[in-house]
Assembly symmetry: C2
Homo-oligomer: 295 residues x 2
Protein backbone atom coordinates (compact mmCIF):
# COMPACT_ATOMS: atom_id res chain seq x y z
CA UNK A 1 0.00 0.00 0.00
CA UNK A 2 1.23 3.45 -0.97
CA UNK A 3 -0.25 6.59 0.53
CA UNK A 4 -0.58 10.09 -0.83
CA UNK A 5 -0.55 13.11 1.45
CA UNK A 6 -4.31 13.33 0.84
CA UNK A 7 -4.84 9.71 1.97
CA UNK A 8 -3.14 10.48 5.25
CA UNK A 9 -4.99 13.77 5.69
CA UNK A 10 -8.30 11.95 5.21
CA UNK A 11 -7.43 9.86 8.28
CA UNK A 12 -5.93 12.51 10.56
CA UNK A 13 -8.45 15.28 9.83
CA UNK A 14 -11.14 13.11 11.42
CA UNK A 15 -9.56 13.71 14.82
CA UNK A 16 -9.51 17.51 14.71
CA UNK A 17 -11.67 19.31 17.29
CA UNK A 18 -14.89 20.92 16.05
CA UNK A 19 -14.75 24.69 15.73
CA UNK A 20 -17.52 25.62 18.14
CA UNK A 21 -18.23 26.67 21.72
CA UNK A 22 -16.35 29.11 23.93
CA UNK A 23 -12.81 27.94 23.06
CA UNK A 24 -13.58 28.39 19.34
CA UNK A 25 -10.76 30.89 18.74
CA UNK A 26 -8.03 28.61 20.06
CA UNK A 27 -9.53 25.67 18.13
CA UNK A 28 -9.55 27.74 14.93
CA UNK A 29 -5.88 28.58 15.49
CA UNK A 30 -5.05 24.91 16.14
CA UNK A 31 -6.86 23.73 13.02
CA UNK A 32 -5.45 26.58 10.91
CA UNK A 33 -1.92 25.44 11.76
CA UNK A 34 -2.77 21.76 11.41
CA UNK A 35 -4.36 22.18 7.98
CA UNK A 36 -1.69 24.53 6.64
CA UNK A 37 -0.21 21.72 4.55
CA UNK A 38 3.00 19.75 4.69
CA UNK A 39 3.88 16.29 3.55
CA UNK A 40 2.31 14.50 6.55
CA UNK A 41 5.55 12.58 6.68
CA UNK A 42 5.33 11.45 10.30
CA UNK A 43 1.83 9.92 10.22
CA UNK A 44 2.62 8.47 6.78
CA UNK A 45 5.73 6.72 8.09
CA UNK A 46 3.81 5.57 11.16
CA UNK A 47 1.11 4.02 8.99
CA UNK A 48 3.65 2.28 6.73
CA UNK A 49 5.47 0.82 9.74
CA UNK A 50 2.11 -0.32 11.14
CA UNK A 51 1.20 -1.91 7.80
CA UNK A 52 4.57 -3.72 7.53
CA UNK A 53 3.93 -5.73 10.70
CA UNK A 54 0.16 -5.72 11.18
CA UNK A 55 -1.87 -8.89 11.38
CA UNK A 56 -5.17 -7.08 10.84
CA UNK A 57 -6.04 -3.63 9.57
CA UNK A 58 -7.29 -1.49 12.43
CA UNK A 59 -7.51 2.16 11.50
CA UNK A 60 -9.37 2.93 14.74
CA UNK A 61 -6.21 1.88 16.58
CA UNK A 62 -3.50 3.58 14.51
CA UNK A 63 -5.56 6.63 13.43
CA UNK A 64 -5.52 8.39 16.83
CA UNK A 65 -1.72 8.05 17.06
CA UNK A 66 -1.28 9.27 13.47
CA UNK A 67 -3.26 12.40 14.29
CA UNK A 68 -1.46 12.80 17.61
CA UNK A 69 2.07 12.78 16.14
CA UNK A 70 1.05 15.40 13.55
CA UNK A 71 -0.53 17.53 16.30
CA UNK A 72 2.72 17.40 18.27
CA UNK A 73 4.72 18.32 15.16
CA UNK A 74 2.30 21.21 14.49
CA UNK A 75 2.43 22.55 18.07
CA UNK A 76 6.23 22.61 17.88
CA UNK A 77 6.07 24.72 14.71
CA UNK A 78 3.60 27.20 16.27
CA UNK A 79 5.81 27.73 19.33
CA UNK A 80 9.03 27.75 17.26
CA UNK A 81 7.67 30.56 15.11
CA UNK A 82 6.89 32.81 18.12
CA UNK A 83 8.71 36.17 18.39
CA UNK A 84 10.71 34.95 21.42
CA UNK A 85 12.01 31.97 19.43
CA UNK A 86 12.51 32.06 15.63
CA UNK A 87 10.23 35.08 15.08
CA UNK A 88 8.96 33.81 11.73
CA UNK A 89 6.02 35.56 10.10
CA UNK A 90 5.48 33.12 7.27
CA UNK A 91 5.24 29.34 7.12
CA UNK A 92 4.47 27.54 3.88
CA UNK A 93 3.63 30.92 2.37
CA UNK A 94 0.94 31.72 4.97
CA UNK A 95 1.00 34.00 8.02
CA UNK A 96 2.16 32.12 11.12
CA UNK A 97 -0.35 31.53 13.91
CA UNK A 98 0.79 34.42 16.11
CA UNK A 99 0.61 36.82 13.17
CA UNK A 100 -2.91 35.72 12.29
CA UNK A 101 -4.39 35.09 15.76
CA UNK A 102 -2.15 37.03 18.15
CA UNK A 103 0.67 35.83 20.35
CA UNK A 104 -1.55 34.93 23.31
CA UNK A 105 -3.75 32.63 21.23
CA UNK A 106 -0.67 31.16 19.50
CA UNK A 107 0.82 30.13 22.85
CA UNK A 108 -2.50 28.60 23.94
CA UNK A 109 -3.01 26.91 20.55
CA UNK A 110 0.40 25.26 20.82
CA UNK A 111 -0.38 24.10 24.35
CA UNK A 112 -3.81 23.00 23.13
CA UNK A 113 -2.38 20.86 20.33
CA UNK A 114 0.27 19.22 22.53
CA UNK A 115 -2.35 18.41 25.14
CA UNK A 116 -5.00 17.34 22.62
CA UNK A 117 -2.53 14.95 21.01
CA UNK A 118 -2.57 12.85 24.20
CA UNK A 119 -6.33 13.12 24.46
CA UNK A 120 -6.76 11.87 20.89
CA UNK A 121 -4.21 9.08 21.32
CA UNK A 122 -6.07 8.00 24.49
CA UNK A 123 -9.02 7.08 22.24
CA UNK A 124 -6.98 3.98 21.33
CA UNK A 125 -7.43 2.73 24.91
CA UNK A 126 -11.13 2.15 24.26
CA UNK A 127 -10.33 0.33 20.98
CA UNK A 128 -8.12 -2.20 22.78
CA UNK A 129 -8.63 -1.83 26.56
CA UNK A 130 -5.83 -3.29 28.65
CA UNK A 131 -3.53 -3.80 25.65
CA UNK A 132 0.10 -3.48 26.71
CA UNK A 133 1.27 -2.46 23.23
CA UNK A 134 -1.10 0.52 23.23
CA UNK A 135 0.31 1.49 26.63
CA UNK A 136 3.86 1.19 25.26
CA UNK A 137 2.90 3.31 22.25
CA UNK A 138 1.54 5.90 24.65
CA UNK A 139 4.81 5.92 26.60
CA UNK A 140 6.77 6.48 23.39
CA UNK A 141 4.40 9.31 22.41
CA UNK A 142 5.02 10.91 25.80
CA UNK A 143 8.81 10.54 25.84
CA UNK A 144 10.27 11.24 22.37
CA UNK A 145 8.78 14.73 21.90
CA UNK A 146 9.87 15.85 25.38
CA UNK A 147 12.97 17.09 27.16
CA UNK A 148 14.86 13.87 26.40
CA UNK A 149 13.89 14.20 22.75
CA UNK A 150 12.55 17.07 20.63
CA UNK A 151 12.38 19.75 23.35
CA UNK A 152 15.92 18.81 24.45
CA UNK A 153 17.13 19.42 20.89
CA UNK A 154 15.26 22.71 20.66
CA UNK A 155 16.74 23.83 23.97
CA UNK A 156 20.34 23.32 22.89
CA UNK A 157 19.52 24.90 19.53
CA UNK A 158 18.13 28.00 21.26
CA UNK A 159 20.98 28.25 23.75
CA UNK A 160 23.63 27.84 21.07
CA UNK A 161 21.96 30.15 18.57
CA UNK A 162 24.70 32.21 16.94
CA UNK A 163 27.55 30.29 18.60
CA UNK A 164 29.75 27.72 16.91
CA UNK A 165 28.72 24.12 17.56
CA UNK A 166 30.87 21.04 18.19
CA UNK A 167 30.16 17.90 16.16
CA UNK A 168 28.66 16.35 19.27
CA UNK A 169 26.34 19.28 19.81
CA UNK A 170 25.06 19.39 16.25
CA UNK A 171 24.50 15.64 16.33
CA UNK A 172 22.56 16.01 19.59
CA UNK A 173 20.40 18.77 18.11
CA UNK A 174 19.60 16.85 14.93
CA UNK A 175 18.95 13.53 16.67
CA UNK A 176 16.59 15.19 19.09
CA UNK A 177 15.07 18.17 17.31
CA UNK A 178 14.30 16.31 14.09
CA UNK A 179 14.89 12.57 14.38
CA UNK A 180 13.06 12.11 17.68
CA UNK A 181 9.60 12.71 16.21
CA UNK A 182 10.33 10.48 13.21
CA UNK A 183 11.56 7.77 15.57
CA UNK A 184 8.46 8.32 17.70
CA UNK A 185 6.19 7.91 14.66
CA UNK A 186 7.87 4.82 13.22
CA UNK A 187 8.30 3.09 16.59
CA UNK A 188 4.63 3.57 17.46
CA UNK A 189 3.61 2.20 14.06
CA UNK A 190 5.74 -0.91 14.56
CA UNK A 191 4.57 -1.41 18.18
CA UNK A 192 0.87 -1.16 17.32
CA UNK A 193 1.40 -3.39 14.31
CA UNK A 194 2.72 -6.04 16.69
CA UNK A 195 6.45 -5.99 15.87
CA UNK A 196 8.84 -7.80 18.23
CA UNK A 197 11.19 -5.92 20.53
CA UNK A 198 14.09 -6.56 18.16
CA UNK A 199 12.09 -5.36 15.18
CA UNK A 200 11.05 -2.20 17.03
CA UNK A 201 14.74 -1.55 17.79
CA UNK A 202 15.65 -1.91 14.10
CA UNK A 203 12.85 0.47 13.10
CA UNK A 204 14.29 2.92 15.62
CA UNK A 205 17.69 2.73 13.91
CA UNK A 206 16.09 3.30 10.52
CA UNK A 207 14.21 6.30 11.91
CA UNK A 208 17.31 7.94 13.34
CA UNK A 209 19.17 7.57 10.05
CA UNK A 210 16.20 8.94 8.11
CA UNK A 211 15.83 11.83 10.54
CA UNK A 212 19.48 12.82 10.23
CA UNK A 213 19.38 12.57 6.43
CA UNK A 214 16.15 14.58 6.36
CA UNK A 215 17.57 17.37 8.52
CA UNK A 216 20.86 17.69 6.63
CA UNK A 217 18.91 17.67 3.34
CA UNK A 218 16.80 20.47 4.83
CA UNK A 219 19.98 22.44 5.56
CA UNK A 220 21.16 21.87 1.98
CA UNK A 221 17.82 23.09 0.61
CA UNK A 222 17.97 26.07 2.92
CA UNK A 223 21.09 27.16 1.06
CA UNK A 224 20.27 26.19 -2.51
CA UNK A 225 16.46 26.38 -2.48
CA UNK A 226 14.62 29.45 -3.52
CA UNK A 227 12.17 31.29 -1.31
CA UNK A 228 9.14 30.66 -3.49
CA UNK A 229 9.55 26.89 -3.59
CA UNK A 230 9.82 26.63 0.20
CA UNK A 231 7.32 29.36 1.09
CA UNK A 232 9.70 30.72 3.73
CA UNK A 233 12.82 32.88 3.70
CA UNK A 234 15.67 30.81 2.24
CA UNK A 235 18.37 32.16 4.45
CA UNK A 236 16.33 32.24 7.65
CA UNK A 237 18.87 30.05 9.40
CA UNK A 238 21.71 32.35 8.41
CA UNK A 239 19.65 35.37 9.40
CA UNK A 240 19.45 33.88 12.88
CA UNK A 241 23.17 33.11 12.71
CA UNK A 242 22.56 29.42 13.18
CA UNK A 243 25.24 26.87 12.48
CA UNK A 244 24.15 23.90 10.41
CA UNK A 245 25.79 20.72 9.20
CA UNK A 246 26.20 22.36 5.78
CA UNK A 247 27.77 25.58 7.02
CA UNK A 248 30.10 23.46 9.20
CA UNK A 249 31.09 20.72 6.76
CA UNK A 250 30.37 22.13 3.31
CA UNK A 251 28.02 21.02 0.57
CA UNK A 252 29.91 17.99 -0.73
CA UNK A 253 30.41 16.29 2.62
CA UNK A 254 26.79 17.05 3.49
CA UNK A 255 25.44 15.42 0.34
CA UNK A 256 27.64 12.40 1.03
CA UNK A 257 26.30 12.20 4.58
CA UNK A 258 22.72 12.29 3.36
CA UNK A 259 23.43 9.45 0.96
CA UNK A 260 25.16 7.38 3.63
CA UNK A 261 22.30 7.76 6.09
CA UNK A 262 19.77 6.98 3.38
CA UNK A 263 21.67 3.82 2.41
CA UNK A 264 21.90 2.79 6.05
CA UNK A 265 18.16 3.15 6.53
CA UNK A 266 17.33 1.25 3.37
CA UNK A 267 19.81 -1.55 4.13
CA UNK A 268 18.33 -2.21 7.57
CA UNK A 269 14.83 -2.16 6.09
CA UNK A 270 15.79 -4.51 3.25
CA UNK A 271 16.98 -7.16 5.68
CA UNK A 272 13.83 -6.99 7.79
CA UNK A 273 11.25 -9.79 7.44
CA UNK A 274 7.80 -8.21 7.35
CA UNK A 275 4.28 -9.46 6.70
CA UNK A 276 3.53 -6.80 4.09
CA UNK A 277 6.34 -6.31 1.59
CA UNK A 278 4.41 -3.69 -0.36
CA UNK A 279 4.39 -1.47 2.72
CA UNK A 280 8.15 -2.00 3.08
CA UNK A 281 8.72 -1.06 -0.55
CA UNK A 282 6.55 2.05 -0.13
CA UNK A 283 8.55 3.06 2.93
CA UNK A 284 11.86 2.61 1.08
CA UNK A 285 10.50 4.68 -1.83
CA UNK A 286 9.31 7.37 0.55
CA UNK A 287 12.71 7.57 2.21
CA UNK A 288 14.44 7.80 -1.18
CA UNK A 289 12.07 10.56 -2.30
CA UNK A 290 12.66 12.48 0.91
CA UNK A 291 16.37 12.44 0.41
CA UNK A 292 16.13 13.39 -3.27
CA UNK A 293 13.55 16.13 -2.68
CA UNK A 294 14.21 19.62 -3.95
CA UNK A 295 11.72 21.36 -1.62
Amino acid sequence: MKYSTEDIEKIIYRYLPEESGYPIKVIQAMNYAFMAGGKRLRPMMMKLCFDMFKKEDNEELIGPFMAAIEMIHTYSLIHDDLPALDNDELRRGKPTVHVKFGEDIAILAGDGLLNYAFSVAAQAFSVKPGDVNVEKAFSVLASKPGIYGMIGGQTLDVIKSGSPLTDEEIEYIYINKTSALIECAMTIGALLGGASGDEVDKIGQVARAVGMAFQVQDDILDIVGDEKALGKPVLSDEKNEKYTYVTMHGMEKSRQYVNNMSDKANNILSELNVTDNNAKESLINLITQLIDRDR
Copy 2:
Protein backbone atom coordinates in the same frame (compact mmCIF):
# COMPACT_ATOMS: atom_id res chain seq x y z
CA MET B 1 -4.21 10.17 57.14
CA LYS B 2 -3.50 13.87 56.97
CA TYR B 3 -0.79 15.31 54.73
CA SER B 4 1.31 18.43 55.04
CA THR B 5 2.59 20.27 51.98
CA GLU B 6 6.01 18.79 52.79
CA ASP B 7 4.62 15.22 52.81
CA ILE B 8 3.25 15.75 49.32
CA GLU B 9 6.45 17.42 48.09
CA LYS B 10 8.44 14.45 49.33
CA ILE B 11 6.45 12.26 46.94
CA ILE B 12 6.26 14.52 43.89
CA TYR B 13 9.86 15.79 43.96
CA ARG B 14 11.02 12.22 43.29
CA TYR B 15 9.67 12.51 39.75
CA LEU B 16 11.48 15.70 38.75
CA PRO B 17 14.04 15.38 35.94
CA GLU B 18 17.72 15.50 36.90
CA GLU B 19 19.46 18.78 36.09
CA SER B 20 22.14 17.48 33.75
CA GLY B 21 22.99 16.99 30.09
CA TYR B 22 22.39 19.27 27.12
CA PRO B 23 18.80 20.27 28.03
CA ILE B 24 19.97 21.36 31.49
CA LYS B 25 18.78 24.95 31.10
CA VAL B 26 15.20 24.02 30.31
CA ILE B 27 15.22 21.43 33.12
CA GLN B 28 16.49 24.06 35.58
CA ALA B 29 13.66 26.36 34.52
CA MET B 30 11.09 23.55 34.90
CA ASN B 31 12.34 22.60 38.35
CA TYR B 32 12.66 26.25 39.44
CA ALA B 33 8.98 26.78 38.69
CA PHE B 34 7.95 23.43 40.15
CA MET B 35 9.81 24.00 43.41
CA ALA B 36 8.72 27.63 43.82
CA GLY B 37 6.25 26.64 46.52
CA GLY B 38 2.49 26.53 46.69
CA LYS B 39 0.11 24.45 48.72
CA ARG B 40 0.38 21.33 46.49
CA LEU B 41 -3.38 21.30 46.68
CA ARG B 42 -4.03 19.22 43.57
CA PRO B 43 -1.73 16.28 44.36
CA MET B 44 -2.84 16.45 48.00
CA MET B 45 -6.51 16.15 47.02
CA MET B 46 -5.63 13.39 44.56
CA LYS B 47 -3.88 11.41 47.30
CA LEU B 48 -6.75 11.87 49.76
CA CYS B 49 -9.29 10.68 47.17
CA PHE B 50 -7.03 7.72 46.43
CA ASP B 51 -6.75 6.93 50.15
CA MET B 52 -10.53 7.14 50.66
CA PHE B 53 -11.21 4.26 48.28
CA LYS B 54 -7.98 2.30 48.12
CA LYS B 55 -7.78 -1.37 49.00
CA GLU B 56 -3.98 -1.34 49.23
CA ASP B 57 -1.44 1.45 49.52
CA ASN B 58 0.47 1.78 46.28
CA GLU B 59 2.50 4.95 46.11
CA GLU B 60 4.25 3.73 42.94
CA LEU B 61 0.86 3.89 41.23
CA ILE B 62 -0.52 7.20 42.50
CA GLY B 63 2.84 9.02 42.81
CA PRO B 64 3.41 9.52 39.06
CA PHE B 65 -0.07 11.01 38.63
CA MET B 66 0.41 13.28 41.68
CA ALA B 67 3.60 14.65 40.14
CA ALA B 68 1.97 14.90 36.71
CA ILE B 69 -0.99 17.03 37.86
CA GLU B 70 1.36 19.44 39.65
CA MET B 71 3.56 19.63 36.52
CA ILE B 72 0.52 20.53 34.43
CA HIS B 73 -0.53 23.16 36.98
CA THR B 74 3.03 24.56 36.96
CA TYR B 75 3.30 24.70 33.16
CA SER B 76 0.03 26.65 33.03
CA LEU B 77 1.45 29.22 35.46
CA ILE B 78 4.68 29.62 33.43
CA HIS B 79 2.79 30.25 30.19
CA ASP B 80 0.14 32.43 31.92
CA ASP B 81 2.87 34.71 33.26
CA LEU B 82 4.41 35.33 29.80
CA PRO B 83 4.44 38.89 28.44
CA ALA B 84 1.88 37.99 25.75
CA LEU B 85 -0.55 36.75 28.41
CA ASP B 86 -0.65 38.15 31.97
CA ASN B 87 2.83 39.69 31.80
CA ASP B 88 3.59 39.00 35.46
CA GLU B 89 7.12 39.47 36.73
CA LEU B 90 6.62 37.99 40.19
CA ARG B 91 5.01 34.81 41.44
CA ARG B 92 5.04 33.87 45.11
CA GLY B 93 7.54 36.70 45.63
CA LYS B 94 10.06 35.30 43.13
CA PRO B 95 10.89 36.34 39.55
CA THR B 96 8.72 34.47 37.05
CA VAL B 97 10.41 31.95 34.74
CA HIS B 98 10.65 34.24 31.72
CA VAL B 99 12.20 36.99 33.86
CA LYS B 100 14.79 34.60 35.28
CA PHE B 101 15.51 32.37 32.27
CA GLY B 102 14.32 34.39 29.25
CA GLU B 103 11.11 34.14 27.29
CA ASP B 104 12.37 31.46 24.89
CA ILE B 105 13.33 29.08 27.70
CA ALA B 106 10.08 29.88 29.54
CA ILE B 107 8.02 28.79 26.53
CA LEU B 108 10.08 25.60 26.19
CA ALA B 109 9.97 24.93 29.95
CA GLY B 110 6.17 25.15 29.90
CA ASP B 111 6.01 22.81 26.93
CA GLY B 112 8.54 20.57 28.68
CA LEU B 113 6.48 20.30 31.85
CA LEU B 114 3.21 19.62 30.03
CA ASN B 115 4.90 16.92 27.98
CA TYR B 116 6.88 15.47 30.89
CA ALA B 117 3.68 15.16 32.93
CA PHE B 118 2.46 12.50 30.50
CA SER B 119 5.84 10.82 30.47
CA VAL B 120 5.89 10.60 34.27
CA ALA B 121 2.27 9.41 34.47
CA ALA B 122 3.12 6.71 31.90
CA GLN B 123 5.39 5.16 34.56
CA ALA B 124 2.20 3.86 36.16
CA PHE B 125 1.71 1.57 33.14
CA SER B 126 4.68 -0.51 34.24
CA VAL B 127 3.35 -0.68 37.81
CA LYS B 128 0.05 -2.21 36.65
CA PRO B 129 0.38 -3.23 32.99
CA GLY B 130 -2.93 -3.67 31.18
CA ASP B 131 -4.94 -2.10 34.01
CA VAL B 132 -8.03 -0.38 32.63
CA ASN B 133 -8.29 2.04 35.57
CA VAL B 134 -4.77 3.34 34.88
CA GLU B 135 -5.79 3.84 31.25
CA LYS B 136 -8.91 5.72 32.37
CA ALA B 137 -6.81 7.86 34.72
CA PHE B 138 -4.55 8.65 31.78
CA SER B 139 -7.52 9.68 29.65
CA VAL B 140 -8.72 12.04 32.39
CA LEU B 141 -5.20 13.49 32.71
CA ALA B 142 -5.22 14.15 28.95
CA SER B 143 -8.69 15.67 28.73
CA LYS B 144 -9.36 17.96 31.71
CA PRO B 145 -6.33 20.25 31.28
CA GLY B 146 -6.98 20.71 27.54
CA ILE B 147 -9.23 22.73 25.24
CA TYR B 148 -12.38 21.21 26.76
CA GLY B 149 -11.10 22.06 30.22
CA MET B 150 -8.37 24.38 31.51
CA ILE B 151 -7.14 25.73 28.15
CA GLY B 152 -10.75 26.36 27.11
CA GLY B 153 -11.24 28.48 30.24
CA GLN B 154 -7.98 30.34 29.65
CA THR B 155 -8.98 31.04 26.05
CA LEU B 156 -12.29 32.68 26.96
CA ASP B 157 -10.54 34.56 29.77
CA VAL B 158 -7.95 35.93 27.32
CA ILE B 159 -10.51 36.81 24.64
CA LYS B 160 -12.81 38.53 27.13
CA SER B 161 -10.04 40.34 28.98
CA GLY B 162 -11.30 43.84 29.73
CA SER B 163 -14.84 43.19 28.47
CA PRO B 164 -17.89 42.61 30.66
CA LEU B 165 -18.78 38.94 31.17
CA THR B 166 -22.19 37.28 31.29
CA ASP B 167 -22.95 34.93 34.19
CA GLU B 168 -22.65 32.02 31.77
CA GLU B 169 -19.23 33.16 30.59
CA ILE B 170 -17.79 33.65 34.06
CA GLU B 171 -19.14 30.25 35.11
CA TYR B 172 -17.52 28.68 32.04
CA ILE B 173 -14.19 30.34 32.82
CA TYR B 174 -14.18 29.28 36.48
CA ILE B 175 -15.36 25.73 35.83
CA ASN B 176 -12.68 25.25 33.21
CA LYS B 177 -9.76 27.47 34.18
CA THR B 178 -9.76 26.49 37.86
CA SER B 179 -12.12 23.61 38.61
CA ALA B 180 -11.01 21.38 35.73
CA LEU B 181 -7.58 20.63 37.23
CA ILE B 182 -9.07 20.01 40.67
CA GLU B 183 -11.65 17.69 39.12
CA CYS B 184 -8.85 16.02 37.18
CA ALA B 185 -6.84 15.46 40.36
CA MET B 186 -9.68 14.15 42.50
CA THR B 187 -11.18 11.96 39.76
CA ILE B 188 -7.82 10.31 39.06
CA GLY B 189 -7.33 9.65 42.78
CA ALA B 190 -10.75 7.99 43.04
CA LEU B 191 -10.25 5.99 39.82
CA LEU B 192 -6.85 4.63 40.86
CA GLY B 193 -8.16 3.91 44.35
CA GLY B 194 -10.79 1.67 42.74
CA ALA B 195 -13.94 3.77 43.23
CA SER B 196 -17.09 2.75 41.33
CA GLY B 197 -18.40 4.80 38.39
CA ASP B 198 -21.05 6.36 40.63
CA GLU B 199 -18.48 7.25 43.28
CA VAL B 200 -16.18 8.81 40.66
CA ASP B 201 -19.14 10.94 39.47
CA LYS B 202 -19.82 12.14 43.02
CA ILE B 203 -16.16 13.02 43.50
CA GLY B 204 -16.39 15.02 40.26
CA GLN B 205 -19.33 17.00 41.70
CA VAL B 206 -17.38 17.68 44.89
CA ALA B 207 -14.39 18.83 42.84
CA ARG B 208 -16.40 21.27 40.75
CA ALA B 209 -17.96 22.82 43.87
CA VAL B 210 -14.54 23.07 45.55
CA GLY B 211 -13.00 24.56 42.41
CA MET B 212 -15.67 27.26 42.14
CA ALA B 213 -15.41 28.10 45.85
CA PHE B 214 -11.62 28.21 45.60
CA GLN B 215 -11.66 30.57 42.61
CA VAL B 216 -14.22 32.99 44.07
CA GLN B 217 -12.29 32.97 47.36
CA ASP B 218 -9.20 33.84 45.30
CA ASP B 219 -11.06 36.79 43.80
CA ILE B 220 -12.09 37.93 47.27
CA LEU B 221 -8.48 37.71 48.49
CA ASP B 222 -7.33 39.58 45.41
CA ILE B 223 -9.37 42.52 46.62
CA VAL B 224 -8.86 42.34 50.39
CA GLY B 225 -5.48 40.64 50.59
CA ASP B 226 -2.29 42.58 50.86
CA GLU B 227 0.59 42.25 48.46
CA LYS B 228 3.04 40.88 50.96
CA ALA B 229 0.84 38.00 52.07
CA LEU B 230 0.21 36.87 48.51
CA GLY B 231 3.65 37.64 47.09
CA LYS B 232 2.06 39.17 43.98
CA PRO B 233 0.41 42.49 43.14
CA VAL B 234 -2.97 42.58 44.90
CA LEU B 235 -4.83 44.39 42.19
CA SER B 236 -3.26 42.52 39.27
CA ASP B 237 -6.68 41.43 38.03
CA GLU B 238 -7.96 45.01 38.11
CA LYS B 239 -4.78 46.22 36.43
CA ASN B 240 -5.62 43.89 33.56
CA GLU B 241 -9.22 45.12 33.67
CA LYS B 242 -10.50 41.62 34.33
CA TYR B 243 -14.02 41.02 35.50
CA THR B 244 -14.35 38.62 38.41
CA TYR B 245 -17.24 37.15 40.37
CA VAL B 246 -16.53 39.68 43.12
CA THR B 247 -16.42 42.75 40.88
CA MET B 248 -19.65 41.51 39.23
CA HIS B 249 -21.66 40.44 42.29
CA GLY B 250 -20.09 42.25 45.23
CA MET B 251 -18.36 40.98 48.34
CA GLU B 252 -21.38 39.76 50.31
CA LYS B 253 -22.90 37.65 47.57
CA SER B 254 -19.44 36.26 46.80
CA ARG B 255 -18.83 35.15 50.38
CA GLN B 256 -22.26 33.55 50.42
CA TYR B 257 -21.47 31.71 47.18
CA VAL B 258 -18.21 30.37 48.60
CA ASN B 259 -20.03 29.07 51.66
CA ASN B 260 -22.76 27.45 49.58
CA MET B 261 -20.26 25.67 47.34
CA SER B 262 -18.24 24.57 50.35
CA ASP B 263 -21.36 23.17 52.03
CA LYS B 264 -22.36 21.39 48.86
CA ALA B 265 -18.95 19.71 48.58
CA ASN B 266 -18.90 18.65 52.21
CA ASN B 267 -22.49 17.34 52.11
CA ILE B 268 -21.79 15.09 49.13
CA LEU B 269 -18.61 13.85 50.80
CA SER B 270 -20.35 13.20 54.13
CA GLU B 271 -22.88 10.89 52.48
CA LEU B 272 -20.21 8.89 50.67
CA ASN B 273 -19.31 5.43 51.99
CA VAL B 274 -15.54 5.06 51.90
CA THR B 275 -13.04 2.52 53.15
CA ASP B 276 -10.88 5.09 54.93
CA ASN B 277 -12.90 7.59 56.96
CA ASN B 278 -9.79 9.37 58.22
CA ALA B 279 -8.92 10.31 54.64
CA LYS B 280 -12.47 11.60 54.15
CA GLU B 281 -12.24 13.70 57.28
CA SER B 282 -8.88 15.09 56.15
CA LEU B 283 -10.36 15.99 52.79
CA ILE B 284 -13.31 17.78 54.42
CA ASN B 285 -10.89 19.66 56.69
CA LEU B 286 -8.72 20.60 53.74
CA ILE B 287 -11.72 21.95 51.83
CA THR B 288 -12.85 23.95 54.86
CA GLN B 289 -9.35 25.40 55.31
CA LEU B 290 -9.17 26.34 51.66
CA ILE B 291 -12.39 28.25 51.87
CA ASP B 292 -11.45 29.98 55.12
CA ARG B 293 -7.92 30.81 53.97
CA ASP B 294 -6.71 34.38 54.12
CA ARG B 295 -3.87 33.91 51.60
